[in-house]
Subunit: 319 residues, 4 copies
């Protein structure tokens, strides 16, 4: 193997650039040539491909987003799309690939591997909703971004004795809500993985108020319902001076945290090692603090599990 | 005069604590006694009042919100409410007041002055919508908070070639939008003070796209319309991959910037000097970099003017 | 057991307040009474002890430092000091303790346990130099603070084509240097755990310069030597426009990251559970992402190991 | 006039990129061509010059440092250097220039103007030490960076009851110390513009300690003396648990604040307007919140004055 390609796919996440840098530098260090593919699988099919050198990834580790751009491209699920992509790989002499993205992008990686082009997947998404990895690239940054907003909102909630419902991202997963809820000292965390009882949440707020508590914060995962609906429901149980904030796309951006940069670097480097060993169809993860890899096929039959012990912990200490 | 009171009223703003600290310390430095009044005019009427010393304001300058809490209390517009407040002033021996808040709270300050209790107003609001001052306490912090979010959103907008409509606060004023728009390099700034032409905005985005521009950012002041409506309108002119973010209450919180802390300190100190000179019914401001004061009555007949030269500047350099 | 105490000892670290909060709230949740002890073992001996309730730890989770204050108190190594401390425990009816601090403070915890007062240690130090735990409370925050400074310095290093030697904390351990070095994309990381060859570092900088690289960053752990000495040595190998920055005490402060707050909450809660099980003389840690506990005695015979795979990773990808 | 050049000179400062962007975009908006000159006057003489278009300055407004790089180049003080520079201007057809930098770089701008090539200077330095402008580009960012560090150090100072001497930049000027000192609530600010009495500073710390104050912060401008010397002197007056931090080059970097970006945009735009009016030999400034310009010659005979009212303010309210 002499030449590998790299692309980012799906929603962007902070740390993707650190992963691209690690893949590129590690590959060059090992004597390989590296080609960047813009706009994910769409760019692969379109041949939006360019040679990278050491300097292509200079001054990028600290940047949010992905400088290779990303795109959703459902056409790559069809064999027709895949074959067009392979045509481009052949044209540029690319023998193997690293794909950074959510589990959607893993399908493409698996298909290319089946066609004889080894591809390794890296978990790049803020949502932390990928199986066989404790953390995804971008999650730690996103949680800290949410936390900063929670801290700001606490100021104004305290000044006015208000209840805030803060809606955070995560698609179907409650991880961002769980972590930012525990770290933010939220009175309640509402996630898709757990049923909730609105009357109990209302009681908790009431008890806190009676004790003299100046603010109540509820972190709501977007996978449960809209914050406006939630607030409307809550207000049926009393007047809590409820306000709503939907944090939105700020959660996707920003300079990555140390954790995300280090983990992205470790994963990117490992991906190149696996390709050099002639392997493909694997997804990289971090489990128990160690960089691991699993068959992508296994991921499709598995389910991500949020760290629900944090939910119970929060019940015990946040009141 | 031996004893003064201090309260914060209306929406909270970063830097209010720095102002409270400056008033308290300056007053003690001048040999006065200082009483803190919780929850604005509501707390005044309720007698939620306590003696402060040097240490009461220690470790507060860097905190967002207001540690004296705030509340809206329309009842103070009526003489009945005012008389109840005066009863409490008499009970605690408070002869004069500093009131920090938006222009709503200036009415209360004026009324107390007319009743013989000198009161000085400080402009505490993120909205920058108070006449006879170039800046209000909290505005600089709020603009920088917005800017941080804009920078984050640019990451993800660039990665996906999207257009973002970012709704910011300001009530009827476009100041937050103007400053964060120029500083954020927004393609368009939409404010209540200026008509806008949606087709021109659409054209500008289109021209940028054709040139290879990776993102378009539109900063929308809440005083114009909701961001969702705006995006819907914009989408009639083409497919711009538009996304919407409403920044919400994060704009009110957070540790104040250097500017806001310094200006709040200057204003707080000046308020005490004016009270010592036997003056009341005045609003403090900053004009041309100098701390000034004006009759509150003059403010009621005046209008705040946003710095519209920034609007033209942005048209010239943001494309 | 009805009543427990809590203290912080040794150098302060961000996240200590989150740990105090978790211990306090969890204990109250379990029906215990909690007493705060100011100034570590010094305050214990002096009887600087007060009852805490739910509200004592409100609005503290986001604060840097320790609101129970800390102090070094070598006298507690002697039995005389310990007995004085026990006198105070008896006086206040405190039956067990949680001690948050570096390994120095674990001696005190062990001694109290041996005297019949169960004590559990929590690893609170930015240095990450405690055995039997992958991370200490404050480490993640400190690394991110360093990283922010590295990112800032990169701006100015790039503008002037300079080499920067950045000295970071860690006492005898290289962990802060390793993590911030990998995350910051440092050309070289110099730590006590690894010998270094100055001529190779100089060569690397030279090669980068010749390729057009605009900056070179060297992260130096304080345990190796002073940054000034290092720069002087480096300059013998060529003119690298070297500048020196010693980051200093900023590394100890600031609002804790999500990781540090979550981990501190988990550890604090576990400490109370262990005390309720009648256990003492244990140190809490996190290993492989799980909260664990070990005999303090075992820690004294063990050595902390920095994650040296990061060192090799950095050699492969940072050039 | 059809073609202008732009360069940055002297120490870099946050906001320089925002200024470059404004000059470039405004010039293109006015139908001019713009050439970027790398490495200041050194690059001018060496002919390191390239054509810029709209996209050259895209995604730059938020970046610290200067993407045109900077360098000190004393040779440009001699006519020989100037003539070489003019040779390059002629070669590239550049008729006029914008120069962003400290007052050193204004000499070059004046000399070029005298040779018939109009040049306008913009005040780009964190030190705020340029006459005829209330603020320089980079000052606001630098003060806020210092402030963030001061806030962090306060955490650890409070936890251990320590006194911190924090040395900040500013060359011969005390502006950074003054602003960050007032905003940081420093017990003492020590600047070149004011004599200080060490025994009074010691007394103030002592009085605060006796009152129960948990920390003392002293902000020291580098123009006075080294922080180590200062601490040594202070310690002769008592044991204040003094620690020293020299903030160093972090003060030069980082994403610019809203103020710095807006002001840089205003100044850059005005520079182009002045060139279009056929003017040269002018320095842009901001006075009383208005963008102004003065003859560079006048600046050479003038002196910058720090806002010393802040010094007195701090004495009154920081204790």
């Amino acid at each position: 193997m002499k030449r590998i390609g790299i692309l980012t796919s799906g929603g962007d996440a902070p740390g993707m650039n650190a992963a691209i840098r690690a893949v590129t530098r590690k590959a060059i260090h090992e004597g390989l040539e590296v080609y960047g593919i813009n706009y994910g699988f769409a760019g692969l099919v379109a041949g939006d491909i360019f040679k990278m050198d050491e300097s292509s990834v200079g001054d990028k580790i600290q940047r949010g987003g992905t400088f290779l751009y990303s795109a959703r491209y459902p056409e790559f699920a069809q064999e027709e799309g895949q074959l067009k992509g392979i045509e481009q790989l052949n044209k540029f002499g690319i023998e193997a690939l690293v794909v950074i993205g959510g589990d959607g992008s893993y399908h493409g990686a698996l298909k290319l591997t089946e066609h004889g082009y080894n591809a390794i997947g890296l978990p790049g998404t803020i949502d932390n909703d990928i199986p066989y990895t404790d953390f995804t690239i971008g999650f730690d940054t996103s949680v800290n971004t949410v936390l900063e907003s929670v801290d700001r909102i606490r100021d104004t909630a305290t000044s006015h004795e208000r209840t805030f419902v803060i809606e955070v991202m995560g698609r179907g997963a409650g991880d961002i809500a769980l972590w930012s809820g525990v770290a933010g000292g939220a009175e309640a965390i509402v996630i898709p993985e757990k049923d909730f009882d609105m009357s109990k949440i209302a009681d908790k707020i009431r008890v806190g108020r009676n004790r003299g508590k100046k603010h109540s914060l509820i972190i709501l995962a977007e996978g449960v319902m809209h914050a406006d609906e939630f607030a409307e429901e809550l207000n049926k149980y009393g007047d809590f001076q409820t306000r709503v904030t939907v944090l939105g796309h700020v959660q996707r951006g920003g300079s990555p945290t140390a954790r995300d940069r280090v983990m992205a670097s470790q994963m990117g480097s490992r991906a190149v090692e696996l390709l050099l060993e002639g392997k493909g169809g694997l997804a990289i993860g971090i489990e128990n603090n160690k960089i691991v890899s699993h068959d992508i096929l296994d991921l499709f039959n598995a389910k991500h599990h949020a760290e629900l012990s944090l939910y119970d912990l929060n019940s015990d200490i946040s009141f």
